[in-house]
Symmetry: C2
Subunit: 271 residues, 2 copies
């Protein structure tokens, strides 16, 4: 969409992060898309519980998953396979279960933005944290949800709440990355410092003098019109370079016609 | 993943929101997935600039797009078709352009979380706002970006920055929805109010008395062990119902064996 923007020379974001546990994912392609979403946001540990179409034992790569992972193959290659949710979370200390539906369980319910600061604190304190994601169509069973400490749910349009598996992983990852200091890939280009006031004032003075020569100001209106014009241009909050560029623009408008007239005259004179 | 959770009885989130403008999307399926992501977060107006495989004139439905939209067909049916980015934004007041790469343009660069409060304010003030999303592989041209007021970019792992089109739309929609007060589909189940202190104290008293009878406390240790036990149980921050349930659990452990012994004796006696 936005060009890839991937810069292989920049270090990968690595470090302890929540484990993503996919319960009985039905399609290898969805597993791949989850891996891609994880890689986007610095999550690296994937666990699979009884994927419908199987998984190469001892970790490894699976065709449909690999294509959909768009290069996040390291995550697929290191994915670990388990027979049940309970086994997949046995070594973890804290577990969230994702669901879009109320289950009548007396658990704390959190959005990703609410949950991630707490998870980051636990992980910072050495805990191992995981997030359970259910089957594509039917989600987690109530029994699987009862294994978790709290529920993770997503703020979505109640009339259209269906997120696909990889999108749920994406939103969890996005909030994890944002919460833990993730930065956009670039910031404002600052080629030139903000303009000094004298550069701007000098531009104004030049412009207003030339407009005066051109007869731009009706009698008695110059003070008001000048103030309005300055208000408009001040709003640009220009850089030094931009103020100079704009002055050049005005100058060109003034001098260009003069030069053009001179050139035309010279041509007539047969120079 | 999380079961659908869609509740068609709840009103759709509607209202003025940013327009999503897709520039030369290559795959109808991606257009459908964008529509789905928009519906998830209450965005409803889609504009298409020269989709590679065409689009039914006068709005309408297109096969691959409809399947991928998972029911968000109203968005596809109302999508408007334009020949260029400039035409697609002509009636808007404020435009953001998404890109994952720095373009050397002197524009403000914002993440979705930074951008959405400003967009919400503009929209609240009656402005029409749009977000440009580029082609799947190569994004927006520099010329298209120069049409925008500011740049929208996503905080992603710099070593794996490639988001697909629908994921970019999803993240923008997610932040829009969160910023404008979007709520998760449900909150904690509160079947019972928090426990009254007397319920908890009465449970403690019962438990400690029974443990005393069982010889649980070594000589002289009762005060310390009782305090520890109360600390553990206080941490549960129980509801009234939970405190009663837990008392029932203790009682059953105490009385169950007695009842079982009585029943066994009766059976022996041939009752």
């Amino acid at each position: 969409m936005t060009g890839s923007g991937t810069d292989r020379t920049r270090p990968a974001v690595e470090g302890p992060a929540p484990v993503v546990i996919l319960i009985e994912p039905q399609l290898a392609e969805n597993i791949g898309m989850c891996a891609r979403a994880m890689a986007n946001f610095g999550l690296s540990e994937m666990r699979l519980v009884a994927p419908r179409d199987g998984w190469p034992s001892g970790g490894g790569l699976k065709k449909g998953a690999t294509a959909a992972a768009s290069g996040a193959t390291h995550i697929l290659a290191n994915a670990r396979l388990f027979a049940s949710a309970a086994e997949a979370i046995a070594d973890l200390n804290h577990v969230l279960a994702t669901t879009a539906r109320e289950r009548g369980q007396m658990k704390r319910v959190m959005t990703p933005a609410e949950a991630m600061p707490g998870l980051a604190e636990r992980i910072g304190g050495g805990e191992r944290v995981g997030i359970l994601f259910g089957r594509e169509r039917i989600g987690l069973t109530n029994e699987e949800i009862s294994l978790a400490d709290a529920i993770l749910t997503f703020p979505v349009n109640p009339a259209f709440a269906s997120l696909n598996l990889a999108q749920a992983v994406l939103l969890a990852g996005y909030e994890w990355f944002s919460t833990t200091g993730g930065q956009p890939p670039f910031r404002e280009t600052t080629l030139s410092p903000p303009a000094r006031r004298e550069t701007i004032l000098s531009m104004f003075t030049y412009l207003e003098a030339e407009l005066d020569i051109c007869g731009f100001f009706p009698p008695g209106k110059k003070p008001v019109m000048t103030a309005n014009l300055r208000d408009i241009l001040h709003r640009l909050a220009m850089t030094e370079q931009e103020a100079r560029t704009l002055r050049g623009v005005f100058k060109s408008l003034v001098e260009g016609p003069k030069k053009a007239r001179l050139a035309a005259r010279r041509e007539e004179a047969g120079d």
